[in-house]
Amino acid sequence: MILNDFSRRTFIKLSGVAAAGLGLSACGNSGSASSGSTESAGGAAASGDTFKVGGIGPVTGPAAIYGSATKYGAQVAVDEVNAAGKIKLELNWQDDEHDAEKSVNAYNNLKDWGMQILVGTTTTTPCVAVSTESNADRIFELTPSASSVNVLGGEDIGADNPRKDNVFQMCFTDPNQGTASAQYISQQKLGTNIAIIYNNADAYSTGIYQKFVDEAGALGLKIVSTTTFTDDQTDFSVQVGEAKKNKADLVFLPIYYTPASLILSEAKKQDYAPKFFGVDGMDGILDLEGFDKSLAEGVMLLTPFVATATDEATQSFDEAYKKASGADANPNQFAADAYDCVKAIAKAIEEAKIEPSMATPDMCDALIKQFTDASFSYEGLTGKSSWSTTGEVTKTPKGMVIENGIYMPLDKEETK
């Protein structure tokens, strides 16, 4: 190991200059609390009649798929709302690298920009940290996809995590998905011997898993094999082998579609063909570039959104999304949720007659009142949604099965 001279003086001098520069720019920023905007031109100028909507989600790092999807989904909705002309929105999306610290930084950055409403954050862990901040600052927050109940806060959660009344979710909570999946499997008699493969380094996956096990026990479903994996892990030979060895006829996959695609291909390699049952994270598997759709044949999932649906709203969203993202991939459930977030907020703003000039805390209170109002509901890409005071969304998951590379509804729609 070499630990001698390291010509540190030069660096210290250089960085001293850099630090001074950054320090100055930090102070400069404060004067007009408007610079630092990325997306749109003329940040401060447009404040008079425009609602400033901030967005946070990972657009770099390993979770970038989810953040980018929500970013473009939200952008499509903002463009639509602006085109309709009733109200004007301006979206500023900031990267958080799927990290609580960076997410709070992004949040503070948006606050300096003058954010009035927050759509985010995309992923759960950062969202718990950010929602505490937004709660203290009284900024209305609607998360497209952070599905843990920890995000909302409540009596029994964490060491000291009271309900954050300004935070609402667009997606199902993890426990709901776990319970609903177990009920669905039991009602439809999809399988008797169940294997579970879940990501034990992921809050989303673990959250669904825990409730699924509880509910499965109550319903008398037999779990014959439980195996886990962690992020970045690509070898599933053991997990699939365990399920095969224990003769599971249904494999429950409360995970995202990327590892799910690996599990499907491993199962094919091992000549193992049980039923696969996924949750909303499974949506998107058919749009993986290069994915052999025959692998997903017969896979079942509970999802609120279907990109290949033929209704007009979904199709025009699909088109606009491809244009916004500049890629050819279909939007996934994250994008649809983010789109719905913006549209739901726009609807609430219109119905409650909220003005952009309102002080942010008052706007927050007005939006909370509107969202929890019994008469308020919003019908979008992910179904008809309404919200309770706990912040959880009420909507119906659709049971889907993949046939010939497209989603087909499963029989006997299940209502939660």
């Binding site: 190991m1 770099t60 390993p62 970038a64 962690t230 970045d232 690509t234 082998g241 365990e242 000549d271």
Partner: protein, 293 residues
Amino acid sequence: MGFLSNLINGISLGSVYAIIALGYTMVYGIAKMLNFAHGDVIMVGGYLCFIGMSSLGLPTVVAVLLSIVGCTCLGIVVERLAYKPLREAPSLAVLITAIGVSYFLQNSALLIWGADPKVFKSIVDLPSISLFDGQLVIGPINLVTALTCLVIMVCLTLFTSRTKMGKAMRACSEDKGAAQLMGINVNTTISMVFAIGSGLAAIAGVLLCSTYPTLMPTTGALPGIKAFTAAVIGGIGSIPGAALGGVLLGIIEIFAKAYIGTQLADAIVFGVLIVMLLIRPAGLLGKEIHEKV
């Protein structure tokens, strides 16, 4: 039967680690630097092959060659721009530069190819071999990977022991100063090592993605670290050591998952590494170097 199929899976995973570890160990042996960007060159190799096969519609062999040539060029360029100016600098400075290169490659890939994962089509398109009434199934890619690993190891050993360039590499690894006095161009030799290492990374990338078919900008990061671990277990700088270490690590990982539990698999893999290093501090096939006063 379960044991046998776990063993085969372990060898298959291990062979991928081994090929990556060979690249690591070559670079470490000669340039004495931990090239943390090696894993990201693997990722680039995977993407190049993917582009070649699906976007350009090239035949598999051509796509793989494209990927090897592309990565070799990348390795040479990176070496020339980022590492060569630091030849005289402390090794930690080079380490941090390598980390910078790693960030650079990952984020470039993110901007060029996007965050959506790509599903890699295996380069070997054959059905699985099924034995004992389907109780033991061997994927064709597993065989190809293990064979490639073996061939590369033998070729590298022959190259370093028989050819002039190879001998120059060994000389540089022993003593750079003395090698220079003997008329060996140390700079060129080191550049050559990077070229070979990056070419190997491309092959590793193609095989890694064929075995585990998803491709993302972060695909190379964890296999890179694991392979580095493998190279250390085998004795870093030793070519057969890297291959042995890789295969062993793969087997340990699969066995830990199968017989102890998937939850603590990583802890067990790294635990074995620690125990092994405590028993044999220079790795399995590494040379114990006695310090001189």
